[in-house]
C-alpha cells in the first residue's frame, strides 16, 4: 500500500534546506508535480505547523507533514525528503529532522493502511538514521519493503 503511494519519483534524496519551511515546500512540490494536490495544500501544511506547533515531528528526526483533505488534496499520495543537513522544526524532544514524509489524505480512511505500514517502518531499529543515509530512492523503497514484509510474515 505505502509502496503504491510513495514511488521513486516522489523521493528526493539529501536535499539542502535552510529551514523547515523549505522542507515542507520540497516535500509538497513532489506531490504537486504529480498533480496529487493543489498549491494551497503546501501553504496549509506550513500553516498547520505554525498554528498547531511542531508536533509533526513525531519521532526522533522524523517529520510527518500533512494538512486536511479539504485543503487541496486531489488524490491520495505520499512523498519523502531526506536532508543533507538536519533541520530544526522547533520540537524540543525530536529535533533536528533528518527525513520528512508528506501526504495528502482524501478522507479519514484511505490512507490508514499506508500510515500503518509507515509506522511499522519507523518503529524498526534505527530506521530513520538508515533511511537518512541511503543514496537512491529505489534503495529506500527496497529497505521499507523488507521491513513491511517481515512484519507481515510474523503475523
Amino acid at each position: 500500500m505505502i509502496l503504491d503511494l510513495l514511488t521513486e519519483g516522489r523521493i528526493a534524496i539529501k536535499i539542502k534546506a535552510a529551514n523547515w519551511q523549505e522542507v515542507v515546500q520540497t516535500a509538497g512540490q513532489l506531490l504537486l508535480v504529480d498533480n496529487l494536490i493543489t498549491e494551497k495544500y503546501i501553504e496549509a501544511m506550513q500553516k498547520s505547523i505554525i498554528e498547531n506547533g511542531p508536533y509533526v515531528v513525531i519521532g526522533k528526526g522524523i517529520a510527518l507533514l500533512h494538512a486536511r483533505p479539504e485543503d487541496g488534496v486531489k488524490k491520495l499520495g505520499m512523498s519523502l525528503v531526506t536532508l543533507a543537513e538536519p533541520v530544526n522544526f522547533g520540537n524540543k524532544n525530536n529535533d533536528p529532522v533528518k527525513i520528512a514524509f508528506a501526504f495528502g489524505a482524501v478522507d479519514d480512511k484511505q490512507h490508514v493502511k499506508a500510515i500503518s505500514e509507515l509506522s511499522t517502518v519507523l518503529m524498526a531499529d534505527n530506521a530513520v538514521n538508515k533511511i537518512a543515509v541511503i543514496e537512491k530512492p529505489a534503495s529506500i523503497l527496497n529497505y521499507m519493503e523488507k521491513i513491511i514484509a517481515s512484519e507481515n510474515y510474523q503475523k
Binding site: 498547531n52 508536533y55 513525531i58 526522533k60 511499522t120 519507523l122
Partner: protein, 91 residues
Amino acid sequence: MRILAVCGMGLGSSLVLKMNIEKVMDQEGIKGTVDVKDLSSIQGEKADFIFASEEIGKKIDHPAEVISVKNMTDRNEIKEKVLTAAAKLSK
C-alpha cells in the same frame, strides 16, 4: 482499556500513535481499543486514557488522564506508558 490517540487533525501523528499503541497491546496481551480523534472532537468521548504529543496534551481538557508521548516511534517509550496505564486501570 479504552484509549484515545489525539492530534490536531486526527489524520497523521495520532494515527501513527494508534498503530504503535495497538502493536504494544497486541504483544503484551492487553485488551482494549484505540480510537483516533482530533482535538475538537474529544468532548463527550468516553476513555480511560488519552495519548497525545506533549504539545497537544497541554491543550486537552478531558476527564480522562492525559499521557504525553515524546517519541511516537519509540517502541520502549510507548510500551512503558501503555503498561503503566494498564496497571493503573487494574488497581
